[in-house]
Amino acid sequence: MAKPAGDINAGSMADIAFLLLIFFLVTTTMDVETGIQRRLPPMPDENQQAEVEQINKRNIMVVLINKNDRLFAGGQEMHITMLKDKVKEFITNPANLPDLPEKRENDIEGFGPVMVSRAVVSLQNDRGTSYDAYIHVQNELVKAFNELRDEFSMQHFGKKYDSLDEDQQRIVRDAVPMNLSEREPREVTTRRR
């Protein structure tokens, strides 16, 4: 029988492992992709362009950012910090004013009738608007809807929207729909290259 081999010197094992570790540290990224997720409206069919859905004027809130990043919402200029509350007030219409959006009773499956606001927030921007301003406004609008959803789910389920189960989330989504439209840009044909 052969002489039993001595211990393999594993001292350099750590060096090899460190080398691999450093290689992976350098060549990989850990950043999690985060952002505001939206859905674009489908392109209207060219044949049926004429029939545009008519929305009652009282149900629309126009949020406009001009080329100097000035913000106009609901017909008046305002600072971005006021936008969220303005939008929330517009959507909920707490005093049932005649010039704020109407509500319609909707029967939601598995929950029952809920007064659903018919409000639509229309975001418009200029070609010269800066992306930063645009994202800030998007963010405030999404925040307004998210807070309304949270309020609704706190009221009816006693939990925040995120911690509800899937079925309850669907109910909340139906009760507080995110009607955020982006207006068709006016001049699509004159593109800048």
Binding site: A14, A17, G35, P41, Y131
Partner: protein, 159 residues
């Protein structure tokens, strides 16, 4: 050659480093699992805007990226400092987006295609005109799920 002479001749045992590789391997596996390889080299510089209402992109493999920003200094002589679109590794125009979307769709499995998300990585100083053009083109390509890539906002401040 310099050597470290131990002052203690009383037979202090050397530190046992046998478990060091195990520790390092553990770190290695952690990084191998939690990170991903850099896919493309940026040719435009992008500083993402900040936002608070952000959602995580759950399937990174279903995302295709469109970068928009000013060219990095090395390319500024050739392409100027106006905002440009980057698809994959090269400067592109609006018209290339159609092929780019088609190619990314092609590389996905049939079942995943409806869930393809286009992540728009746009520099915060870019004007909306070019972004609107890209969005219109995406609508034409029926790539409707988009994500405006943003950073998480550190503290509340406004523009």
């Amino acid at each position: 050659m310099a050597t470290f002479k131990s002052k203690t001749d009383k037979g202090l045992k050397p530190l046992n480093t046998a478990s060091l590789p195990d520790i390092v391997f553990m770190l290695l596996f952690f990084f191998m699992i939690s990170t991903s390889f850099r896919q493309t080299e940026r040719v435009v510089s992008v500083k993402l805007p900040e936002a608070t209402e952000i959602a995580k992109l759950d399937r990174k493999d279903l995302a295709s990226y469109i970068n928009i920003g000013t060219p990095i200094p090395a390319y500024q002589g050739q392409f100027g400092t106006d905002a440009r679109i980057q698809l994959n590794d090269t400067f592109s125009t609006i018209d290339d987006i159609r092929d780019f979307i088609a190619a990314s769709r092609e590389s996905m499995s049939e079942a995943d295609r409806p869930f393809m998300t286009v992540a728009l990585k746009v520099d915060e100083t870019v004007r909306m005109g070019i972004v609107t053009d890209v969005k219109q083109e995406l609508r034409r390509c029926s790539a409707l799920r988009i994500m405006y890539s943003t950073r998480r906002q550190a503290e509340n401040n406004s523009f």
